[in-house]
Symmetry: C2
Subunit: 673 residues, 2 copies
């Protein structure tokens, strides 16, 4: 098996009439060459394996066939004697523990009569099977895969998603379907943020008060964890555990207050403890704890957090200050570095590589550690220059509610990282998207992660030259459909939440509103001035159901742009714009009675009114534009006031069609000009 080294992006579509847009692949492979014709997927579809039989591979193929069957609705009945439709060969089987940097390449060749999938490892086979699934499409002649040759391997070896399960507990079945999603977009790491101030989520047999007193009773047993790790391993996903220390450690000290640098009192709701790095007892505890967890989590990497250490308890504790002085340290940062060195030795003893956030970077630590950067490419580049490996998470925080295109534009090798030497660049291992869990529950977490996470997966897998947002959105829509077949609820959960808020299944008017709003961005929902978040409050309002990105608003903005660029001479775009504006203008009258009868919806009455006003303003603007007649100055002033009003968040929601309506109003000609 040759090793495939792609030389940048090769997309050759000249051999066939199949358009690029029909290949709904995400991430786009390193190299794709389209041939002539297509391979029919019929009831006799079958898979064969060349080489030795392998039960692991067999079960992977079975899952693949089940997935293909769900996608197509075809119950397969292969003819035992016939040649297999898809022939598979891997040079090597799976390692019992998946390694960071393993060969993940594969080669998939599809002709009009058969398909071949070859890879140096079974990891590559897993990826190739996902590519095959994405290539299957319905055609006038049945389901088929276009004839194609794909050579593929990832750009970065570490492509992860962090899920915080501390702020809100996320059950294993929800995590499992998200792992299916990761495998579908060729991500290979689930970074499991298992402890934080609000909850300790792992059963420790050595220190049971961690989970018993440090959680609301919701944690994973060791049996569940082992089962989950095996599940993820089968799908080519490594599980990297994170236990955040010495800060973010409230949940530890409820049961073990001796770990803290202060005296409390601490509850799951209050107190800001930091572990005491000056007491030997702390290390004895961590030695035993890490020894237990190192056995439970087989991955070579172990994340110790290390972020946002608020030094107040250290400042206030005279013994700790004395220790700092006695050891010639200059700052709390030095004390944290000392703590991390001690921690690193414990990890090394357990054959683990330490991973931590930006703040752990300190020259006293060995070059083996990995720094995960929430600060940006400059921080990552600085680490790489010093010889440390790094991962980018800055720009990939899914909880900030950014549009997919904004995440897509973030590249680990951009900005400061672009100036690194090739050797330094090789230390940038990849990146991780992050789903922090202040505002998610098992019900809506899928829709916060997906489908946007798929574009970060593409950024980390595919050639960096890919930058076209329009193509990305088209392909993202297709991926979204594939995710449905995995049981992810990113598109179905909202529907049920709307039913709940409305108390009826007749929610078409509510859906019109929900389709054009997005939750406020960044941490504007999490305003420190409002006091601490109640992590037990219901998350059942429209802000909790709304998608982070409104497809309707994006499409509408595109229509308005086309229309205005055409100088008002695009009747097809105008007709569509008019249909939307009319729907919005008339929607509040239909929706209002529903909003009034539900305590969960009444807060949305003003935004529904704003939408109606925008609809009216937009339609009036179209009238003036059509007639080419100047509008009264007063009208424009009034409309801009309405628009300014509509830009303000209502019930935590932004009305995302405001800007394009403003463009329409601004485009009208003033009388006074």
């Amino acid at each position: 098996m040759r090793i495939l080294i792609p030389t940048g992006l090769i997309l050759v579509f000249s051999f066939s009439g199949v358009a690029q847009s029909q290949l709904s692949l995400m991430p786009i492979p390193a190299s794709v060459q389209i041939g002539g014709g297509q391979l029919a997927i019929t009831q006799s579809f079958s898979v064969g394996v060349r080489g030795a039989s392998d039960p692991v591979l067999d079960s992977e193929i079975q899952r693949f066939q089940g997935q293909l069957s769900r996608q197509t609705g075809i119950p397969f009945r292969p003819q035992p004697s016939a040649a297999p439709t898809l022939q598979i060969h891997a040079d090597h089987g799976r390692e019992s523990v998946q390694k960071q940097g393993e060969d993940e390449s594969y080669e998939l060749t599809v002709s009009d009569s058969a398909a071949q999938l070859n890879a140096p490892t079974q990891l590559g086979i897993l990826h190739g099977l996902q590519t095959f699934l994405q290539l299957v499409q319905i055609t006038p002649n049945g389901f088929a895969v276009p004839a194609v040759t794909v050579w593929d391997q990832p750009r970065f070896p570490w492509r992860g998603l962090l899920i915080d399960v501390s702020r809100h507990f996320i059950p294993i079945d929800v995590l499992k379907r998200n792992v299916d999603g990761l495998a579908a977009v060729k991500m290979n790491v689930l970074h499991w943020h298992l402890s934080d101030d609000q909850g300790f989520r792992v059963e420790s047999k050595k220190f049971p008060r961690l989970q018993e007193m440090g959680s609301d009773g919701m944690y994973y047993t060791q049996g569940e964890i082992r089962d989950f790790i095996a599940y993820a391993h089968q799908r080519g996903v490594r599980i990297v555990p994170e236990f955040d220390m010495p800060g973010h450690s409230r949940s530890w000290v409820i049961g073990y207050p001796e770990l803290a640098s202060g005296t409390g009192p601490y509850t799951l709701e209050s107190g800001d403890p930091i572990m005491d790095p000056t007491r030997e007892a702390t290390y004895k505890f961590l030695d035993k704890f890490i020894g237990e967890m190192a056995k439970l989590f087989p991955d070579a990497y172990f994340h110790i957090g290390g972020d946002e250490v608020d030094g107040k308890e250290w400042d206030k504790n005279p013994k700790i200050q004395e220790f700092i002085h006695a050891h010639g340290m200059k700052s709390n940062q030095d004390l944290q570095a000392y703590f991390n060195q001690r921690l690193q030795k414990i990890l090394a003893k357990n054959h683990k590589i330490m991973v931590g956030w930006d703040e752990i970077l300190h020259p006293d630590l060995p070059k083996t550690i990995v720094v995960q950067s929430w600060r940006g490419q400059a921080s990552l580049a600085a680490a790489a220059k010093q010889g440390y490996s790094g991962l980018l998470s800055f720009g990939y925080y899914l909880d900030l509610m950014w549009p997919a295109a904004r995440h897509y534009a973030v590249d680990p090798m951009a900005d400061a990282a672009a100036t690194l030497t090739p050797e330094e660049k090789s230390r940038i291992l990849g990146g991780e998207s992050c789903q922090w869990a202040e505002w998610v529950t098992p019900e809506n977490i899928d829709s916060h992660i997906w489908p946007r996470n798929a574009v970060i997966a593409e950024r980390l897998w595919s050639p960096p030259e890919l930058k076209d947002a329009a193509s990305m959105y088209t392909r993202l829509n297709a991926v979204s459909l594939d995710l449905e077949w995995l049981g992810l609820t990113d598109r179905s959960a909202r529907q049920q939440m709307l039913y709940r808020m409305a108390g009826t299944t007749e929610v078409s008017a509510l859906r019109v509103l929900a389709d054009v709003v997005e939750p406020v961005k960044d941490y504007n929902r999490w305003d420190e001035s409002r006091g601490p978040i109640d992590f037990h409050a219901p998350l059942n309002r429209l802000i909790d159901a709304a998608y982070p990105e409104s497809d309707t608003a994006r499409q509408f903005a595109g229509l308005v742009q086309s229309f205005l660029q055409s100088g008002g001479k695009d009747p097809a775009a105008e007709a569509q714009i008019r249909t939307w504006l009319t729907t919005w203008r008339d929607n509040d009258a239909k929706l209002h009675p529903l909003l009034e009868q539900s305590s969960l919806l009444e807060e949305d009455a003003p935004i529904s009114q704003n939408l109606a006003m925008l609809g009216g303003a937009g339609l009036q603007a179209l009238e003036y534009l059509d007639k080419g007649q100047p509008e009264p100055d007063l009208w424009k002033t009034e409309q801009l006031a309405v628009i300014a009003q509509a830009k303000k968040p209502v019930a935590g929601l932004l009305l995302q069609v405001t800007a394009p309506v403003e463009q329409l109003v601004q485009a009208t000609v003033s009388q006074s000009k």
Copy 2:
């Protein structure tokens, strides 16, 4: 605890402003009295149990709380010291095996400050908790239950659903969510049709070739069956197994050809074997087999099928004819009765009561047996007169694709049964809806069973005076919403199937068509003249996704009726009619490109065109009606031709808005009059 004896239907709504329609209960309780105010469901909601602690009850309450939490989106955090919001008391715990005829009554009292649920048995508590869940509604002041007093008990003790798992295998997880559905509408029997010609679905350890050769490899292990029975028991649902004999037995004889009366050859696809009742070896086999199954299935009832015995193999076998003659029998029917007597003795030895279809009724059988009637109330009444107990399934066949109202109108005590004496009437135990599985898969079975099954549940539970279809449909819509929270896919599966057919998530035009079609009725899809069904064919076409009943068509027909009854003077109805007709007229142009690019959809092109023509015809009819002006005769003739065309099934689908459009066209005044 007093026994509650309802004296017919008591619905008292005079004490409050809450309208009847806001009580979305299905089945409607024996007696409901509405009080003043409402009980708020807040985060501090809690449940308390009076009397001895009971782990079974505790786990039931936990499930109830989980369900309430899903429904409301509220994570409950009861105050340990506060009085419980809902206080529960049962006089008696659960029997380890649920008995037919156990007391299922309960009393639920809700005031504006607390609720009480009392019942003689925990079965009653289960039902009362489901009533409570249905009463929870969103209000301007949050989630709440109206103050209400409910006394309730079922009209019939046996309220079941038959699921055929032979024609298409249905996995346990799908059955489990359907059991949750049964519990939600207070049905208490799942009749599991486990063997038929096309598949033997139970693992027999004594006769392993039954499942190994008599199925396509898909069957339930005994461990899965035990787990499923326990699951159903927790939800108050008995599992009654059916092994169909001596006919419908192709799957038995593949592995054990000695059971057959003929010589075959038999495959799962062909042959019509009947068991040989004349050989002692047959009874030895059945004795061993029934002994094994009687232990596996704890219910007191055991269904032996007995339907549709095609006597051809008996006629052709000289030994069997000799046996009939030697024993003084007059017909194959007598031979079947002999077989059933032998079977009944084996069952009695295993402490099982025999249940079978109409055909088992024969004076030689003891009065303990139960006859399930697919033939109708006359057959049921005849059995009751002879002293036999009976169940009605005639009129409750869900696979016939009837509208809910048609099932709702069928009453076990109607027609011939109405003339029975009280003692004879008491022998009619209830009924069972039937989901035969020629045309269902795990994907669409929920939408074939639900929500229509809920109206059969109401017929079997609630007072017989309830007959109002309008109220039924309103409440059915609410139940449909509750079913969503149980994970049933009766409303969500179609969406994904539309995505698959279209190859995109942009399916709004396809949904417009899907909303107005229904599959052909009765067994018109299963036309014997077309030859045997391929039970392995994909079921992924529009006919497989379409709901058995179109809500849109029903609502449209209602609008047209109102409009015409008003003499064309109902502008609100007219506006809605016009909106629908316009949507339909314009839909084909949008949908056509999609239909062309999918092999699964191209067969639907003519029906989409028919819909467009109906839209146009209806709009033109409205014009003539509005103007009061006579239409040209030619126009009417043409339209009626179009309508006649649109009435014909296309791709197995009926266009259900044809009749109301015809009414509009017919209402126009002819020139020649």
